[in-house]
Symmetry: C2
Subunit: 325 residues, 2 copies
């Protein structure tokens, strides 16, 4: 195994967020489930955009956010994801590359526009996400440069990719290439509804392919269809190599075989927008993990990054995360 060119390679849906403030009545009027991610088509995206208030556009995508975080910690990152050759696609690419993340996936020159996620932030700082996948559906196995995969310590993907059938194949190709090169692979469960859509496949991955699985309380309970977090922990312990479970203000728990590391959440003065909390947690954890830190220290770094991102609007860090270490 040659030395690693990258700490983390991320593969995800390349999305630009359009963030607005909304109240519970708006969610109700448009049939939105608070805190969840809903897939929408272009017509619905247009209608919802027309109904919503003024927005802020900021690069997003769960795994893109994580890679921004890894780079912000000072880690070396690469990213595979599909945008179109339009203005929002240019924004997405710029924002990753400007942090030093290698992003070489060819933009689509035809087909749907760059993906966007219409995010309503309610006064309780919760985010409700409505994703139009657009160009993301064009990501496929041909976009997986296995020579890059082979030089990344960890290949990290988002469960959301299962919503694009070709992207799932791309992930499986990357996982095989990573393992063939002696590297590790990791997945986030992304969203409890996403887990519901692909439960058996995700369980199979966790059991047989994945080295590190990330999930929050709702996601891991959904994965194992259990009622309590404690049951979910024990079910996970039996199946996952390393499981990293986040619990919002209760902090996080890392499980590896018989070992359990519980780490409290980092303090936050004011929670403004929880968008990206899990994504940035993963960035801190993976930065630590690829730099030889203990699992407890990885969890602590995850918590620090999550605390930064929920203290302002948007799912990308506003200040260099390396300053938090």
């Amino acid at each position: 195994m040659t030395s690693a060119a990258f700490d983390v390679l991320g593969i995800g849906n390349a999305i630009v967020d359009v963030i607005t403030r909304a109240d519970d009545a708006f969610l109700g009027a448009h049939g939105l489930v608070k805190g969840s991610m809903m897939l929408i088509d272009e017509a619905r995206a247009d209608a919802l955009y027309a109904a919503m208030g003024p927005g802020v556009e900021i690069s997003g995508g769960s795994c893109g956010n994580t890679m921004a975080g890894v780079a912000s910690f000072g880690g070396k990152g690469a990213y595979f994801g599909k945008v179109r050759d339009d203005q929002l696609g240019e924004v997405f690419g710029h924002d990753l590359r400007s942090l030093g993340v290698s992003f070489q996936t060819k933009s689509a020159s035809t087909g749907p526009a760059t993906a966007r996620c219409l995010i309503m932030v309610t006064p309780d700082a919760q985010r409700t996400m409505n994703t139009y996948l657009g160009a993301c559906t064009g990501l496929g196995p041909a976009d997986i440069d296995t020579s890059v995969v082979a030089t990344a310590k960890v290949t990290y993907v988002e469960g959301y990719l299962w919503d694009a059938p070709e992207a799932k194949k791309a992930v499986l190709k990357a996982f095989d290439a990573a393992h063939a090169a002696g590297r590790q692979v990791s997945i986030t469960l992304s969203d409890s509804f996403c887990v519901h859509r692909y439960r058996e496949e995700f369980r199979d991955l966790v059991r047989n392919k994945v080295d590190i699985v990330f999930g929050n309380e709702a996601e891991i309970k959904s994965l194992y269809q259990v009622e309590t977090f404690e049951e979910a922990m024990e079910a996970t312990r039996k199946e996952a190599k390393i499981a990293v479970l986040t619990r919002s203000e209760k902090g996080s728990v890392v499980i590896k075989g018989s070992e359990t590391f519980a780490v409290p959440a980092a303090p936050v003065t004011r929670v403004v927008d929880t968008t990206g909390a899990g994504d940035l947690y993963a960035s801190g954890f993976l930065f630590g993990y690829t730099h030889g830190k203990s699992l407890a220290e990885c969890a602590r770094l995850g918590g620090l990054a999550a605390a930064e991102v929920i203290s302002h609007v948007g799912a990308r860090p506003e200040q260099p995360l390396r300053g938090l270490i």
Copy 2:
């Protein structure tokens, strides 16, 4: 004179801001003058964008910000400005219309892209702006719907429009139509370098056409080429019908003939980004003015709006300004 359909009609350069954080070294390395607005061409915009960090895209444009503020106070607004039929143009239009501002100017279907302003916010919360005018240069007299002008209590324009020759002609057409309908017209001096470029024309406008002129300390001193604010006040008093002069943390001064109203700045917990301070000040003042408030009360409303917008990133209000009254 029929009853007014609009409180304020704004005419401005329709711009999407791309806001990033930068340090003084970045400004120095790229020859940027802190606190100013510099016009750049497309090649320079591309080069500067490639060099800068990750950005947040948010609708801007000085007058667009003001109209967003007027609407946020509950005022009835209309806006004339030129975007292209591209993604950022769609964003600009959505953000104004979603606040209830009437925006009917036809988008360009050919020619340069929607304007963007690359804004570097330094740790001292100052903003340094680099504007690629793009589609804005297509605004001309044909875009002035005089039937709308005639039904607006005040037509408000930005001095920046003088940087686009056809836009200047459009403004003069609008001013004449407004006065013919018994309405008032107003201009902001925009930027001290802008005043330097068009000093004689602006002085002539203030003397002969404009009912309300807005300017900050640097701009009004540049307009009359004097050293002190006191000298600028007295020069302004001789030439302007109503002058509204903003002084950052020193508050603002309204001058009308022999009358002078000095109003302190509204308190701000933490100044994050001064982008849009003058634009939002104008929104509060014009909202008050078109609702029959005293000049001192207009200045107070201006100060409240400015305080809101400098407390966060971006030049558009994050919370409804009517809540501040």
